[in-house]
Protein backbone atom coordinates (compact mmCIF):
# COMPACT_ATOMS: atom_id res chain seq x y z
CA UNK A 1 0.00 0.00 0.00
CA UNK A 2 1.16 3.51 -0.85
CA UNK A 3 2.32 4.82 2.52
CA UNK A 4 0.55 8.18 2.10
CA UNK A 5 -2.79 6.39 2.24
CA UNK A 6 -4.76 4.31 4.67
CA UNK A 7 -7.70 2.03 4.00
CA UNK A 8 -10.97 2.14 5.92
CA UNK A 9 -12.70 -1.22 5.98
CA UNK A 10 -15.92 -2.45 7.56
CA UNK A 11 -17.13 -6.03 7.28
CA UNK A 12 -20.59 -7.55 7.21
CA UNK A 13 -20.38 -11.20 8.16
CA UNK A 14 -23.29 -13.59 7.76
CA UNK A 15 -23.18 -16.76 9.86
CA UNK A 16 -25.61 -19.61 9.28
CA UNK A 17 -26.83 -20.83 12.65
CA UNK A 18 -26.61 -24.52 13.52
CA UNK A 19 -30.24 -24.91 14.53
CA UNK A 20 -32.19 -28.04 13.62
CA UNK A 21 -34.99 -26.06 12.02
CA UNK A 22 -35.52 -22.84 10.10
CA UNK A 23 -36.03 -19.42 11.65
CA UNK A 24 -39.80 -19.24 11.22
CA UNK A 25 -40.99 -22.80 10.44
CA UNK A 26 -40.22 -26.37 11.46
CA UNK A 27 -38.49 -27.39 8.20
CA UNK A 28 -35.05 -28.96 8.53
CA UNK A 29 -31.95 -26.85 7.89
CA UNK A 30 -29.97 -29.87 6.73
CA UNK A 31 -27.49 -29.01 3.98
CA UNK A 32 -27.33 -31.21 0.88
CA UNK A 33 -30.84 -32.65 0.88
CA UNK A 34 -32.48 -33.07 -2.56
CA UNK A 35 -33.81 -29.73 -3.90
CA UNK A 36 -37.15 -28.47 -2.60
CA UNK A 37 -37.60 -31.14 0.06
CA UNK A 38 -37.04 -28.98 3.19
CA UNK A 39 -39.96 -26.73 2.35
CA UNK A 40 -43.44 -25.94 3.62
CA UNK A 41 -46.09 -23.29 2.96
CA UNK A 42 -44.33 -20.88 5.36
CA UNK A 43 -40.88 -20.88 3.75
CA UNK A 44 -42.44 -21.15 0.29
CA UNK A 45 -44.15 -17.83 1.03
CA UNK A 46 -47.70 -19.01 0.46
CA UNK A 47 -50.44 -16.53 1.28
CA UNK A 48 -52.06 -16.63 4.70
CA UNK A 49 -49.24 -18.34 6.59
CA UNK A 50 -47.66 -16.92 9.73
CA UNK A 51 -44.02 -17.11 10.85
CA UNK A 52 -43.28 -18.41 14.37
CA UNK A 53 -39.84 -17.55 15.73
CA UNK A 54 -37.33 -20.29 16.62
CA UNK A 55 -36.25 -19.76 20.24
CA UNK A 56 -32.86 -21.38 19.76
CA UNK A 57 -31.92 -18.93 16.98
CA UNK A 58 -32.50 -16.03 19.37
CA UNK A 59 -30.40 -17.78 22.02
CA UNK A 60 -27.57 -18.25 19.53
CA UNK A 61 -27.68 -14.58 18.51
CA UNK A 62 -27.58 -13.57 22.19
CA UNK A 63 -24.63 -15.96 22.79
CA UNK A 64 -22.71 -14.27 19.97
CA UNK A 65 -23.58 -10.88 21.42
CA UNK A 66 -22.30 -11.90 24.84
CA UNK A 67 -19.11 -13.36 23.36
CA UNK A 68 -18.39 -10.12 21.50
CA UNK A 69 -19.11 -7.72 24.38
CA UNK A 70 -22.38 -6.42 22.91
CA UNK A 71 -25.31 -4.88 24.68
CA UNK A 72 -28.29 -7.27 24.46
CA UNK A 73 -31.40 -5.27 23.66
CA UNK A 74 -34.33 -6.16 25.86
CA UNK A 75 -36.66 -5.39 22.98
CA UNK A 76 -35.86 -6.09 19.37
CA UNK A 77 -38.07 -5.86 16.31
CA UNK A 78 -38.22 -7.78 13.04
CA UNK A 79 -38.60 -5.82 9.82
CA UNK A 80 -39.34 -6.57 6.20
CA UNK A 81 -36.62 -5.88 3.68
CA UNK A 82 -38.39 -5.67 0.34
CA UNK A 83 -36.89 -6.75 -2.96
CA UNK A 84 -37.72 -9.05 -5.82
CA UNK A 85 -35.55 -12.02 -6.66
CA UNK A 86 -36.68 -15.54 -7.61
CA UNK A 87 -34.96 -17.19 -4.61
CA UNK A 88 -37.00 -15.01 -2.24
CA UNK A 89 -40.55 -16.33 -2.62
CA UNK A 90 -42.27 -13.82 -0.30
CA UNK A 91 -40.82 -10.77 -2.06
CA UNK A 92 -39.27 -9.67 1.23
CA UNK A 93 -36.70 -10.98 3.67
CA UNK A 94 -37.57 -10.94 7.37
CA UNK A 95 -34.62 -9.20 8.98
CA UNK A 96 -34.06 -6.62 11.69
CA UNK A 97 -33.54 -2.94 11.08
CA UNK A 98 -33.47 -0.24 13.74
CA UNK A 99 -33.79 -2.55 16.76
CA UNK A 100 -31.43 -5.54 16.38
CA UNK A 101 -30.87 -8.17 19.10
CA UNK A 102 -27.33 -7.00 19.94
CA UNK A 103 -25.47 -3.70 19.60
CA UNK A 104 -22.24 -1.89 20.43
CA UNK A 105 -19.72 -4.68 21.00
CA UNK A 106 -16.06 -5.27 20.17
CA UNK A 107 -13.40 -7.91 19.78
CA UNK A 108 -9.62 -7.70 20.18
CA UNK A 109 -7.38 -9.07 17.45
CA UNK A 110 -3.65 -9.83 17.48
CA UNK A 111 -1.69 -8.38 14.58
CA UNK A 112 1.54 -9.63 12.99
CA UNK A 113 3.59 -6.78 14.50
CA UNK A 114 2.74 -8.13 17.95
CA UNK A 115 0.21 -5.43 18.77
CA UNK A 116 -3.43 -5.96 19.72
CA UNK A 117 -6.22 -3.87 18.24
CA UNK A 118 -9.78 -3.44 19.44
CA UNK A 119 -12.34 -3.53 16.60
CA UNK A 120 -15.90 -2.37 17.12
CA UNK A 121 -19.05 -4.32 16.33
CA UNK A 122 -21.97 -2.06 15.44
CA UNK A 123 -24.71 -4.64 15.65
CA UNK A 124 -25.71 -8.29 15.38
CA UNK A 125 -29.13 -9.03 13.99
CA UNK A 126 -31.18 -12.08 13.07
CA UNK A 127 -32.53 -12.69 9.60
CA UNK A 128 -33.60 -15.48 7.28
CA UNK A 129 -31.51 -16.79 4.41
CA UNK A 130 -32.73 -16.77 0.82
CA UNK A 131 -33.02 -19.84 -1.43
CA UNK A 132 -30.56 -20.87 -4.09
CA UNK A 133 -30.68 -19.97 -7.77
CA UNK A 134 -28.92 -22.17 -10.28
CA UNK A 135 -27.81 -20.20 -13.30
CA UNK A 136 -25.99 -22.78 -15.42
CA UNK A 137 -29.00 -23.75 -17.54
CA UNK A 138 -29.31 -22.45 -21.09
CA UNK A 139 -32.78 -20.94 -21.01
CA UNK A 140 -34.00 -20.63 -17.46
CA UNK A 141 -32.89 -20.22 -13.87
CA UNK A 142 -33.68 -23.06 -11.46
CA UNK A 143 -34.71 -22.32 -7.90
CA UNK A 144 -34.23 -24.48 -4.81
CA UNK A 145 -36.03 -23.16 -1.73
CA UNK A 146 -34.38 -25.52 0.82
CA UNK A 147 -32.11 -22.81 2.23
CA UNK A 148 -34.88 -20.22 2.32
CA UNK A 149 -35.65 -19.36 5.95
CA UNK A 150 -32.48 -20.87 7.41
CA UNK A 151 -31.47 -18.62 10.34
CA UNK A 152 -28.55 -16.24 9.92
CA UNK A 153 -26.95 -13.70 12.13
CA UNK A 154 -25.42 -10.69 10.42
CA UNK A 155 -22.49 -9.24 12.33
CA UNK A 156 -21.76 -5.68 11.23
CA UNK A 157 -18.42 -4.19 12.20
CA UNK A 158 -17.52 -0.55 12.70
CA UNK A 159 -15.29 0.83 9.91
CA UNK A 160 -12.32 0.27 12.21
CA UNK A 161 -9.99 -1.80 10.05
CA UNK A 162 -7.11 -0.08 8.31
CA UNK A 163 -5.63 -2.89 6.21
CA UNK A 164 -6.49 -6.21 4.61
CA UNK A 165 -4.52 -7.93 7.38
CA UNK A 166 -6.70 -6.40 10.09
CA UNK A 167 -9.83 -7.45 8.20
CA UNK A 168 -8.44 -10.96 7.84
CA UNK A 169 -7.68 -11.18 11.56
CA UNK A 170 -11.13 -9.84 12.44
CA UNK A 171 -12.82 -12.40 10.23
CA UNK A 172 -10.65 -15.22 11.63
CA UNK A 173 -11.60 -14.19 15.13
CA UNK A 174 -15.32 -14.11 14.29
CA UNK A 175 -14.99 -17.58 12.81
CA UNK A 176 -13.11 -18.81 15.87
CA UNK A 177 -15.79 -17.43 18.19
CA UNK A 178 -18.80 -18.86 16.31
CA UNK A 179 -17.05 -22.22 16.26
CA UNK A 180 -16.25 -22.06 19.97
CA UNK A 181 -19.91 -21.24 20.64
CA UNK A 182 -20.96 -24.11 18.32
CA UNK A 183 -23.53 -21.81 16.72
CA UNK A 184 -22.11 -21.97 13.17
CA UNK A 185 -19.63 -24.32 11.51
CA UNK A 186 -17.71 -21.36 10.06
CA UNK A 187 -17.10 -22.87 6.65
CA UNK A 188 -16.60 -20.07 4.12
CA UNK A 189 -16.13 -22.40 1.17
CA UNK A 190 -19.53 -24.00 1.77
CA UNK A 191 -21.15 -20.64 2.46
CA UNK A 192 -22.07 -21.13 6.11
CA UNK A 193 -19.91 -18.07 6.83
CA UNK A 194 -20.08 -15.23 4.28
CA UNK A 195 -18.38 -11.89 4.22
CA UNK A 196 -19.01 -8.61 2.37
CA UNK A 197 -16.67 -5.67 2.75
CA UNK A 198 -17.06 -1.91 2.54
CA UNK A 199 -13.82 -0.22 1.54
CA UNK A 200 -12.59 3.29 1.05
CA UNK A 201 -9.17 4.90 1.14
CA UNK A 202 -8.01 8.31 2.34
CA UNK A 203 -4.80 10.20 2.95
CA UNK A 204 -3.35 9.49 6.37
CA UNK A 205 -4.41 12.16 8.84
CA UNK A 206 -7.61 12.88 6.94
CA UNK A 207 -10.66 12.42 9.18
CA UNK A 208 -13.35 12.45 6.50
CA UNK A 209 -14.20 9.13 4.86
CA UNK A 210 -13.58 8.60 1.18
CA UNK A 211 -16.20 7.20 -1.21
CA UNK A 212 -16.65 3.52 -0.49
CA UNK A 213 -17.23 0.49 -2.63
CA UNK A 214 -18.70 -2.82 -1.52
CA UNK A 215 -17.13 -6.16 -2.43
CA UNK A 216 -19.15 -9.34 -2.42
CA UNK A 217 -18.53 -12.95 -3.37
CA UNK A 218 -15.28 -13.54 -1.48
CA UNK A 219 -15.83 -17.16 -0.60
CA UNK A 220 -12.63 -18.03 1.23
CA UNK A 221 -10.35 -16.40 3.80
CA UNK A 222 -7.59 -16.14 1.23
CA UNK A 223 -9.93 -14.41 -1.21
CA UNK A 224 -10.96 -11.84 1.38
CA UNK A 225 -7.38 -10.75 1.85
CA UNK A 226 -6.66 -10.81 -1.89
CA UNK A 227 -9.83 -8.94 -2.82
CA UNK A 228 -9.29 -6.25 -0.20
CA UNK A 229 -5.68 -5.67 -1.25
CA UNK A 230 -6.78 -5.53 -4.88
CA UNK A 231 -9.48 -2.96 -4.16
CA UNK A 232 -7.27 -0.82 -1.91
CA UNK A 233 -4.60 -0.65 -4.64
CA UNK A 234 -7.21 0.08 -7.31
CA UNK A 235 -8.71 2.99 -5.37
CA UNK A 236 -5.30 4.49 -4.54
CA UNK A 237 -4.13 4.27 -8.14
CA UNK A 238 -7.38 5.82 -9.32
CA UNK A 239 -7.01 8.77 -6.95
CA UNK A 240 -3.30 9.18 -7.69
CA UNK A 241 -4.18 9.40 -11.39
CA UNK A 242 -6.63 12.19 -10.64
CA UNK A 243 -9.73 10.02 -10.84
CA UNK A 244 -12.62 9.57 -8.44
CA UNK A 245 -13.94 6.45 -6.74
CA UNK A 246 -17.55 5.71 -7.68
CA UNK A 247 -19.80 4.19 -5.04
CA UNK A 248 -20.68 0.76 -6.43
CA UNK A 249 -20.89 -2.93 -5.64
CA UNK A 250 -18.12 -5.16 -6.96
CA UNK A 251 -18.04 -8.93 -7.31
CA UNK A 252 -14.77 -10.71 -6.60
CA UNK A 253 -13.72 -13.10 -9.35
CA UNK A 254 -11.41 -15.68 -7.77
CA UNK A 255 -10.36 -17.13 -11.14
CA UNK A 256 -9.20 -13.84 -12.61
CA UNK A 257 -8.20 -12.22 -9.29
CA UNK A 258 -10.15 -9.07 -10.08
CA UNK A 259 -13.23 -7.34 -8.73
CA UNK A 260 -15.71 -6.21 -11.34
CA UNK A 261 -18.83 -4.06 -10.95
CA UNK A 262 -22.23 -5.72 -10.64
CA UNK A 263 -24.55 -4.62 -13.37
CA UNK A 264 -26.57 -1.48 -12.69
CA UNK A 265 -30.07 -2.75 -12.10
CA UNK A 266 -29.18 -5.29 -9.42
CA UNK A 267 -27.77 -2.59 -7.23
CA UNK A 268 -30.80 -0.31 -7.21
CA UNK A 269 -31.13 -0.81 -3.44
CA UNK A 270 -34.25 0.67 -1.99
CA UNK A 271 -35.46 -1.89 0.47
CA UNK A 272 -38.32 0.09 2.06
CA UNK A 273 -37.90 -1.52 5.49
CA UNK A 274 -40.90 -1.50 7.75
CA UNK A 275 -41.77 -3.40 10.96
CA UNK A 276 -42.86 -6.99 10.23
CA UNK A 277 -46.59 -6.99 11.01
CA UNK A 278 -46.65 -10.80 11.42
CA UNK A 279 -44.25 -10.81 14.39
CA UNK A 280 -44.57 -9.01 17.69
CA UNK A 281 -41.53 -7.41 19.34
CA UNK A 282 -39.06 -9.94 20.76
CA UNK A 283 -38.42 -9.53 24.46
CA UNK A 284 -35.13 -10.87 25.82
CA UNK A 285 -35.41 -10.48 29.58
CA UNK A 286 -32.45 -10.09 31.92
CA UNK A 287 -33.24 -13.48 33.38
CA UNK A 288 -33.12 -15.09 30.00
CA UNK A 289 -29.80 -13.42 29.18
CA UNK A 290 -28.48 -14.75 32.49
CA UNK A 291 -29.67 -18.24 31.64
CA UNK A 292 -28.04 -18.07 28.20
CA UNK A 293 -24.79 -16.72 29.61
CA UNK A 294 -24.54 -19.82 31.77
CA UNK A 295 -24.12 -21.76 28.51
CA UNK A 296 -21.29 -19.52 27.38
CA UNK A 297 -18.24 -21.76 26.95
CA UNK A 298 -14.72 -20.65 27.75
CA UNK A 299 -13.76 -18.34 24.90
CA UNK A 300 -10.52 -18.57 22.88
CA UNK A 301 -8.73 -15.73 24.67
CA UNK A 302 -9.50 -17.08 28.15
CA UNK A 303 -8.61 -20.60 27.15
CA UNK A 304 -5.29 -19.45 25.74
CA UNK A 305 -4.48 -17.73 29.03
CA UNK A 306 -5.42 -20.84 30.97
CA UNK A 307 -3.24 -23.06 28.74
CA UNK A 308 -0.22 -20.94 29.62
CA UNK A 309 -0.94 -20.99 33.34
CA UNK A 310 -2.43 -24.46 33.89
CA UNK A 311 -0.20 -26.42 31.50
CA UNK A 312 2.77 -24.01 31.61
CA UNK A 313 2.82 -23.83 27.83
CA UNK A 314 4.57 -21.06 25.89
CA UNK A 315 2.17 -18.47 24.40
CA UNK A 316 3.07 -19.71 20.95
CA UNK A 317 1.86 -23.24 21.77
CA UNK A 318 -1.24 -21.99 23.57
CA UNK A 319 -2.12 -19.82 20.59
CA UNK A 320 -1.99 -22.70 18.13
CA UNK A 321 -3.66 -25.23 20.42
CA UNK A 322 -6.62 -22.93 21.15
CA UNK A 323 -7.03 -21.81 17.54
CA UNK A 324 -10.06 -24.08 17.31
CA UNK A 325 -12.24 -25.50 20.04
CA UNK A 326 -11.87 -29.03 18.69
CA UNK A 327 -8.08 -28.84 18.76
CA UNK A 328 -8.08 -27.39 22.28
CA UNK A 329 -10.48 -30.15 23.38
CA UNK A 330 -8.15 -32.74 21.85
CA UNK A 331 -5.18 -31.31 23.72
CA UNK A 332 -7.01 -31.29 27.02
CA UNK A 333 -8.05 -34.92 26.56
CA UNK A 334 -4.38 -35.82 26.05
CA UNK A 335 -3.45 -33.78 29.12
CA UNK A 336 -5.83 -35.89 31.18
CA UNK A 337 -3.76 -38.99 30.34
CA UNK A 338 -0.23 -37.65 30.56
CA UNK A 339 1.23 -34.99 32.80
CA UNK A 340 3.94 -34.25 30.23
CA UNK A 341 2.04 -31.24 28.87
CA UNK A 342 4.83 -29.87 26.73
CA UNK A 343 5.42 -33.21 24.95
CA UNK A 344 1.69 -33.42 24.29
CA UNK A 345 1.82 -29.96 22.76
CA UNK A 346 4.88 -30.85 20.64
CA UNK A 347 3.30 -34.02 19.29
CA UNK A 348 0.06 -32.23 18.39
CA UNK A 349 1.67 -29.15 16.82
CA UNK A 350 4.18 -31.29 14.94
CA UNK A 351 3.27 -34.80 13.89
CA UNK A 352 -0.50 -34.56 14.30
CA UNK A 353 -1.24 -31.17 12.72
CA UNK A 354 1.05 -32.12 9.84
CA UNK A 355 -1.15 -35.14 9.04
CA UNK A 356 -4.37 -33.23 9.73
CA UNK A 357 -3.36 -30.48 7.31
CA UNK A 358 -2.02 -32.81 4.66
CA UNK A 359 -5.06 -35.05 4.65
CA UNK A 360 -7.50 -32.19 5.31
CA UNK A 361 -9.20 -34.19 8.04
CA UNK A 362 -10.82 -32.69 11.08
CA UNK A 363 -9.06 -33.26 14.39
CA UNK A 364 -12.37 -34.62 15.69
CA UNK A 365 -12.19 -37.53 13.24
CA UNK A 366 -8.45 -38.08 13.66
CA UNK A 367 -7.58 -41.78 13.75
CA UNK A 368 -5.31 -41.46 16.80
CA UNK A 369 -7.52 -40.71 19.78
CA UNK A 370 -6.24 -38.31 22.45
CA UNK A 371 -6.05 -41.15 24.99
CA UNK A 372 -3.77 -43.09 22.63
CA UNK A 373 -1.43 -40.15 22.15
CA UNK A 374 -1.31 -39.70 25.92
CA UNK A 375 -0.38 -43.36 26.32
CA UNK A 376 2.34 -43.08 23.69
CA UNK A 377 3.91 -40.17 25.59
CA UNK A 378 3.71 -42.15 28.82
CA UNK A 379 5.45 -45.11 27.16
CA UNK A 380 8.38 -42.84 26.35
CA UNK A 381 8.46 -41.26 29.78
CA UNK A 382 8.41 -44.56 31.67
CA UNK A 383 11.25 -45.83 29.45
CA UNK A 384 9.21 -48.54 27.76
CA UNK A 385 10.22 -47.14 24.39
CA UNK A 386 12.63 -44.45 23.26
CA UNK A 387 11.50 -41.24 21.62
CA UNK A 388 12.95 -42.52 18.38
CA UNK A 389 10.95 -45.74 18.53
CA UNK A 390 7.85 -43.67 19.33
CA UNK A 391 8.26 -41.96 15.95
CA UNK A 392 8.16 -45.44 14.38
CA UNK A 393 5.08 -46.45 16.38
CA UNK A 394 3.19 -43.31 15.37
CA UNK A 395 2.57 -44.28 11.70
CA UNK A 396 1.20 -47.66 12.82
CA UNK A 397 -1.16 -45.95 15.25
CA UNK A 398 -2.24 -43.66 12.44
CA UNK A 399 -2.87 -46.51 10.02
CA UNK A 400 -4.23 -49.18 12.32
CA UNK A 401 -5.88 -47.07 15.01
CA UNK A 402 -4.49 -49.43 17.66
CA UNK A 403 -3.28 -48.52 21.12
CA UNK A 404 0.47 -47.81 21.20
CA UNK A 405 1.22 -50.55 23.77
CA UNK A 406 -0.42 -53.11 21.48
CA UNK A 407 1.76 -52.00 18.58
CA UNK A 408 4.89 -51.98 20.74
CA UNK A 409 4.13 -55.54 21.82
CA UNK A 410 3.20 -56.79 18.35
CA UNK A 411 6.31 -55.36 16.74
CA UNK A 412 8.43 -56.30 19.73
CA UNK A 413 9.65 -52.74 20.24
CA UNK A 414 9.89 -52.73 24.02
CA UNK A 415 12.99 -50.86 25.04
CA UNK A 416 15.80 -52.83 26.60
CA UNK A 417 16.37 -51.30 30.00
CA UNK A 418 17.84 -54.48 31.47
CA UNK A 419 21.48 -53.47 31.95
CA UNK A 420 22.92 -56.99 31.58
CA UNK A 421 21.42 -57.26 28.09
CA UNK A 422 22.89 -53.85 27.21
CA UNK A 423 26.23 -54.77 28.72
CA UNK A 424 26.54 -57.93 26.65
CA UNK A 425 25.72 -55.97 23.47
CA UNK A 426 28.38 -53.43 24.40
CA UNK A 427 30.98 -56.11 25.06
CA UNK A 428 30.29 -57.58 21.66
CA UNK A 429 30.74 -54.22 19.93
CA UNK A 430 33.92 -53.41 21.84
CA UNK A 431 35.39 -56.81 20.91
CA UNK A 432 34.49 -56.33 17.25
CA UNK A 433 35.93 -52.82 17.03
CA UNK A 434 39.35 -52.85 18.66
CA UNK A 435 40.63 -50.00 16.45
CA UNK A 436 37.89 -47.60 17.47
CA UNK A 437 38.42 -48.53 21.12
CA UNK A 438 42.13 -47.78 20.70
CA UNK A 439 41.35 -44.42 19.09
CA UNK A 440 38.98 -43.51 21.91
CA UNK A 441 41.55 -44.35 24.56
CA UNK A 442 44.16 -42.24 22.76
CA UNK A 443 41.88 -39.20 23.08
CA UNK A 444 39.79 -39.26 19.89
CA UNK A 445 36.54 -39.16 21.75
CA UNK A 446 34.55 -38.50 18.57
CA UNK A 447 34.40 -42.26 17.92
CA UNK A 448 32.17 -42.54 20.97
CA UNK A 449 29.17 -41.61 18.85
CA UNK A 450 30.08 -44.29 16.33
CA UNK A 451 30.20 -46.92 19.07
CA UNK A 452 26.82 -45.83 20.47
CA UNK A 453 25.38 -46.18 16.98
CA UNK A 454 26.77 -49.70 16.70
CA UNK A 455 25.21 -50.70 20.01
CA UNK A 456 21.84 -49.25 19.04
CA UNK A 457 22.05 -51.17 15.80
CA UNK A 458 22.93 -54.37 17.61
CA UNK A 459 19.84 -53.92 19.81
CA UNK A 460 17.64 -52.91 16.83
CA UNK A 461 17.15 -49.47 18.36
CA UNK A 462 15.45 -50.85 21.41
CA UNK A 463 18.16 -50.16 23.96
CA UNK A 464 17.53 -47.21 26.23
CA UNK A 465 19.88 -44.59 24.75
CA UNK A 466 20.78 -43.09 28.11
CA UNK A 467 21.66 -46.49 29.55
CA UNK A 468 23.81 -47.23 26.50
CA UNK A 469 25.64 -43.94 26.93
CA UNK A 470 26.30 -44.52 30.60
CA UNK A 471 27.38 -48.15 30.38
CA UNK A 472 29.51 -47.64 27.27
CA UNK A 473 31.36 -44.76 28.90
CA UNK A 474 31.95 -46.83 32.02
CA UNK A 475 33.25 -49.83 30.04
CA UNK A 476 35.63 -47.67 27.99
CA UNK A 477 36.94 -45.79 31.00
CA UNK A 478 37.50 -49.12 32.78
CA UNK A 479 39.90 -50.06 29.95
CA UNK A 480 42.17 -47.11 30.78
CA UNK A 481 43.12 -48.64 34.07
Amino acid sequence: MNSKYEAVIGLEVHAQLLTETKLFCGCSTKFGNPPNTNVCPICLGHPGVLPVLNKKAVEYAVLMGLATNCRINEKSVFARKNYFYPDLPKGYQISQYDLPVCEAGHIDVDLSDGSTKRLGITRIHLEEDAGKSIHDQAFETLVDVNRCGVPLIEIVSEPDMRSAEEAYQYLSKIKQIVQYLSICDGNMEEGSLRCDANISVRLKGETKLGTKTEIKNMNSFKNVEKALNYEIERQIELIEDGGKVIQETLLWNADLNIASPMRGKEEAHDYRYFPEPDLMPVIVSNDWVKEISENLPELPEARKQRFTSEYKLPTYDADILTSSRDLADYYEEVAKVTADYKSASNWIMGDILKVVNETKTSIKDFSIKPVQLGKLINLINNNTISGKIAKDVFPFMLKEGKDPEVIVKEKNLVQITDSSAIESAIQKILNNNPNEVEQYLSGKEKVFGFLVGQVMRETKGKANPKAVNDILKESLEAKRK
Binding site: T19, E20, T21, C25, G26, C27, S28, P34, P35, N36, T37, N38, V39, C40, P41, L44, V52, L53, N54, K55, K56, A57, V58, V77, N82, F84, Y85, P86, L99, S133, I134, H135, D136, Q137, F139, E140, T141, L142, V143, D144, V145, D270, R272, P275, P277, L279, M280, P281, V282, I283
Partner: protein, 97 residues
Protein backbone atom coordinates in the same frame (compact mmCIF):
# COMPACT_ATOMS: atom_id res chain seq x y z
CA UNK B 1 -46.47 18.56 -2.93
CA UNK B 2 -44.37 16.10 -0.92
CA UNK B 3 -44.88 13.20 -3.35
CA UNK B 4 -43.89 13.86 -6.93
CA UNK B 5 -44.84 11.99 -10.08
CA UNK B 6 -41.27 10.73 -10.14
CA UNK B 7 -41.67 9.21 -6.66
CA UNK B 8 -44.77 7.35 -7.81
CA UNK B 9 -42.96 6.04 -10.86
CA UNK B 10 -40.07 4.91 -8.66
CA UNK B 11 -42.34 3.08 -6.21
CA UNK B 12 -44.23 1.48 -9.08
CA UNK B 13 -40.95 0.29 -10.56
CA UNK B 14 -39.84 -1.21 -7.23
CA UNK B 15 -43.19 -2.94 -6.89
CA UNK B 16 -42.94 -4.17 -10.50
CA UNK B 17 -46.14 -2.40 -11.45
CA UNK B 18 -46.79 -0.43 -14.61
CA UNK B 19 -49.38 2.29 -15.00
CA UNK B 20 -50.86 4.57 -17.60
CA UNK B 21 -49.74 8.18 -17.48
CA UNK B 22 -53.21 9.23 -16.23
CA UNK B 23 -53.10 6.64 -13.43
CA UNK B 24 -49.74 7.92 -12.25
CA UNK B 25 -51.17 11.39 -12.04
CA UNK B 26 -54.19 10.27 -10.05
CA UNK B 27 -52.02 8.14 -7.68
CA UNK B 28 -49.78 11.13 -7.09
CA UNK B 29 -52.81 13.09 -6.01
CA UNK B 30 -54.19 10.24 -3.87
CA UNK B 31 -50.89 9.64 -2.11
CA UNK B 32 -50.51 13.32 -1.32
CA UNK B 33 -54.01 13.46 0.05
CA UNK B 34 -53.37 10.50 2.34
CA UNK B 35 -50.06 11.93 3.49
CA UNK B 36 -51.47 15.36 4.23
CA UNK B 37 -54.27 13.68 6.22
CA UNK B 38 -51.82 11.82 8.47
CA UNK B 39 -49.59 14.89 8.50
CA UNK B 40 -51.79 16.08 11.35
CA UNK B 41 -49.98 13.61 13.63
CA UNK B 42 -46.84 15.73 13.31
CA UNK B 43 -48.56 18.41 15.38
CA UNK B 44 -48.26 16.18 18.46
CA UNK B 45 -45.23 16.38 20.68
CA UNK B 46 -43.73 12.87 20.71
CA UNK B 47 -40.47 13.73 22.47
CA UNK B 48 -41.08 11.30 25.31
CA UNK B 49 -42.96 8.65 23.37
CA UNK B 50 -41.28 5.41 22.38
CA UNK B 51 -41.58 4.52 18.69
CA UNK B 52 -44.43 2.10 18.07
CA UNK B 53 -43.45 -1.04 16.17
CA UNK B 54 -46.65 -2.96 16.76
CA UNK B 55 -50.15 -1.51 17.16
CA UNK B 56 -51.33 -3.73 20.00
CA UNK B 57 -49.47 -4.49 23.22
CA UNK B 58 -47.93 -7.94 23.63
CA UNK B 59 -44.77 -9.80 22.88
CA UNK B 60 -43.54 -12.50 20.58
CA UNK B 61 -44.16 -16.19 21.28
CA UNK B 62 -41.45 -18.72 20.49
CA UNK B 63 -41.32 -22.11 18.88
CA UNK B 64 -38.94 -24.81 20.14
CA UNK B 65 -36.26 -25.93 17.70
CA UNK B 66 -37.98 -29.20 16.82
CA UNK B 67 -38.53 -30.19 13.22
CA UNK B 68 -41.94 -30.83 11.77
CA UNK B 69 -42.71 -32.66 8.51
CA UNK B 70 -42.09 -30.70 5.32
CA UNK B 71 -44.21 -30.78 2.19
CA UNK B 72 -43.32 -33.19 -0.59
CA UNK B 73 -41.45 -31.75 -3.56
CA UNK B 74 -44.42 -32.57 -5.74
CA UNK B 75 -46.74 -30.66 -3.45
CA UNK B 76 -44.31 -27.77 -3.17
CA UNK B 77 -44.07 -27.41 -6.93
CA UNK B 78 -47.79 -27.92 -7.57
CA UNK B 79 -48.72 -24.26 -8.05
CA UNK B 80 -45.59 -23.26 -9.95
CA UNK B 81 -46.20 -21.88 -13.44
CA UNK B 82 -43.05 -23.64 -14.64
CA UNK B 83 -41.02 -26.46 -13.05
CA UNK B 84 -39.20 -29.74 -13.63
CA UNK B 85 -39.23 -32.77 -11.31
CA UNK B 86 -37.38 -31.01 -8.52
CA UNK B 87 -36.91 -27.30 -9.26
CA UNK B 88 -38.95 -24.18 -9.80
CA UNK B 89 -38.14 -22.69 -13.20
CA UNK B 90 -38.04 -18.94 -13.72
CA UNK B 91 -36.90 -16.76 -16.62
CA UNK B 92 -33.12 -16.45 -16.73
CA UNK B 93 -31.81 -14.05 -14.09
CA UNK B 94 -28.11 -13.83 -14.92
CA UNK B 95 -26.13 -14.66 -18.02
CA UNK B 96 -23.17 -16.68 -16.87
CA UNK B 97 -20.96 -15.92 -19.88
Amino acid sequence: MPVSKKDVEHIAELAKLSFEESEIESFTGDLNEILSYVEKLNELNTDNVEPLSYPIPGQNVFRDDISTPSASTQEALKNAPDKDESFFKVPKVINMD
